[in-house]
């Protein structure tokens, strides 16, 4: 009985017009039912707004709200904590027809979601250079590497880092700098370099190739080869150090930890 009641009640919360009647079989006042429907929709829409502030700034409040409301109705949360809500929004944006003339929008949203993840991801250990240095040379080649759970790599055919940064700076300077869309591809690393800090960094082609291999679960050896091929004179030692400092990588898995 209660189960059936809750399914009926829930069926009208996110779908249908707000001023419409209450769900069928539920003998309640529509205006009063509408208070709950409004609260559910507006709080979830607000959660998406909070997670994607730059995307919202770029398309404007009305456009974003319409897009977020449709997302909420079709992709409601499956977890009861909102830091987990919005992961599929960039994909949704990519297929949202009214936004089709903004092809860089999904990648911008991906950067924003990566920041949400960076903020709330578990405090897993990150790659330690000492442990890395202790790996015997013959094991290094096949060493599997992976991104830290707080780190994400966004590779875009558009200058999406410039777009993101221009809007962030516009918040501060009240002026939006022009971004040259012809600039083409940009690769971005989002991570948690410090305990209370989120980093968003633009990467060169060598770093990008290295991280693409890491995301694809390829070994350290393969990642190095890809990096050197992608960028003339890529200095693996220096670059790896820089990426380790911003905690891009997960700690070396215990079963291949050869330091002990």
């Amino acid at each position: 009985m209660l189960d059936e009641f809750q399914r009926r009640f829930a069926s009208g919360l996110l779908i249908g017009t707000l001023n419409g009647s209450a769900p069928e079989g539920l003998s309640v006042d529509s205006l009063r039912f509408g208070v709950y429907a409004h609260n559910a929709r507006s709080s979830l829409t607000k959660a998406i707004e909070n997670a994607f502030p730059v995307t919202r700034q770029l398309v404007g409040v009305d456009f974003f709200t319409a897009m977020a409301e449709q997302f909420v109705a079709t992709h409601p949360p499956r977890e009861g904590w909102l830091s987990a809500y919005g992961g599929s929004f960039p994909h949704y944006v990519a297929h949202y027809r009214p936004a089709a003339d903004l092809p860089y929008l999904p990648d911008l949203a991906r950067i924003e979601w990566a920041r949400v993840r960076a903020a709330s991801a578990p405090d897993d250990p990150s790659l330690d250079l000492k442990a890395f240095a202790a790996v015997p040379p013959d094991a290094l080649e096949n060493l599997p590497m992976s991104l830290h759970v707080a780190a994400s790599f966004v590779s875009s055919p558009f200058p999406v880092f410039d777009i993101w940064r221009a809007h962030k700076l516009a918040d501060r300077d009240k002026q939006l700098t022009q971004v040259d869309l012809a600039k083409g591809t940009q690769n971005v690393l989002i991570s948690r370099p410090g305990v209370l800090e989120i980093g968003v960094a633009l990467l060169g082609p060598g770093d990008a190739a290295f991280l693409t291999s890491v995301v694809g679960h390829l070994s350290f050896g393969v990642a190095c080869e890809a990096a050197v091929l992608a960028e003339m004179g890529y200095d693996i030692g220096t670059r790896l150090g820089d990426l380790v400092v911003v905690r891009a990588f997960a700690a070396i898995a215990k079963n291949i930890d050869v330091t002990s």
Binding site: A40, E79, G80, W81, A119
Partner: protein, 333 residues
């Protein structure tokens, strides 16, 4: 997990020290619980009686990390689900704040009213947060927010029937068993009453405490709103609920809504406490004693100073009630 063992709490500045004496009131709550003998470890006292805390909001978090200039508030309440990431920045900040302030953990999405039970993963995350910050109080709502696999992020209303009482009791039992402690259950703000309900909210909550040993969190603003929207007699509500089960009080603001034909009070948690709610607060303190009270302001969050001012007003009211009513004063310890 918090990064290191929590040191002893540092006394804050500018507010009365927390009482550590055993409270007559808490003993009476604990005696009620012993009837069920749930085998939980019992805190001798929450140590928060007679004091007014505020809700910790992310825009103010950094103020509570500046060790040389800690805001003068005796305790803080956090929304549990904001710290469910099992790590990360929010969680790290909370761990640091919990070293300096007593914490109350307030859940909003456990969905105690869901007919298909508690989601184990949600309860596990709540348990690990409780483990990390060792809160003085843990609370949830008489509401549901999930049906099937979908969360609606709102505190949805329940028909108050025997079946619902069975469902909520089982869910509260499961929660308390997992946490190894009792929780407080809050009265929600009501916009809808159901014809199938067979008992009043006060009767329902009272029976819930009898069946599970849980306590109640009296949200005075919610009670005021339900009074206006559903015609609940608030004085009767206060007189039905036993004095020894209320473990905490919430205060918040509301706004007018609905239509001219059908006005409704809307629980926005985004405004100052209204005169009517202050009056009901005095009646609540007079009835239940100087329960730990918290200023809840969730949307359009103002400056910390505004929250502290509201808290100080509640603290003054507590002092007045305590002076004018020797009966409630007994519970001040």
């Amino acid at each position: 997990m918090c990064p290191r063992e929590l040191p002893r709490r540092l006394p804050g500045r500018g507010y009365p020290p927390l009482e550590t004496r055993e409270s007559i009131h808490m003993n009476s709550i604990l005696n009620t619980m012993s009837a069920r003998d749930r085998g939980f470890k019992r805190p001798s006292s929450t140590g928060l009686e007679g004091s007014v805390g505020i809700g910790l909001r992310s825009s103010h978090s950094e103020r509570f990390l500046d060790a040389n200039n800690l805001p003068p508030v005796p305790w803080l309440e956090v929304l549990a689900e904001n710290y469910f990431g099992r790590g990360g920045i929010n969680h790290q900040m909370l761990c640091r704040i919990a070293e300096r302030y007593p914490i109350s953990v307030h859940g909003v999405a456990l969905s105690l009213g869901s007919a298909d039970g508690i989601v184990p993963e949600h309860l596990e995350r709540l348990a690990s947060l409780v483990e990390d910050v060792q809160p003085r109080l843990v609370s949830e709502h008489l509401a549901w927010s999930r049906s099937g696999e979908v969360y609606y992020n709102d505190l949805l209303p329940l028909p108050l029937t025997e079946e619902t009482l069975d469902v909520v009791s089982a869910n509260v039992d499961q929660t308390q068993d997992r946490l190894g402690r009792t929780i407080l259950v809050e009265n929600p703000s009501g916009y809808l009453a159901f014809e199938q309900s067979t008992m009043s909210e006060a009767a329902f909550l009272t029976r819930l405490t009898e069946r599970t040993g849980c306590g109640l969190l009296l949200d005075v603003n919610n009670l005021f709103i339900s009074g206006a929207n559903l015609g609940i007699d608030t004085a009767e509500w206060l007189s039905i609920v036993p004095t020894n089960v209320v473990g905490e009080i919430h205060l918040a603001g509301h706004e007018m809504g609905g239509t001219p034909d059908q006005p409704l009070l809307m629980d926005t948690h985004g405004a100052a406490v209204t005169p009517g709610v202050w009056a009901l607060y005095i009646a609540s303190l007079t009835r239940f004693g100087l329960r730990p009270t918290m200023i809840e302001w969730d949307s359009d969050v103002p400056s910390l100073e505004v929250l502290l001012e509201e808290a100080s007003r509640a603290q003054q009211i507590m002092a007045q009630v305590s002076r004018s009513d020797p009966y409630s004063n007994r519970y001040a310890g």
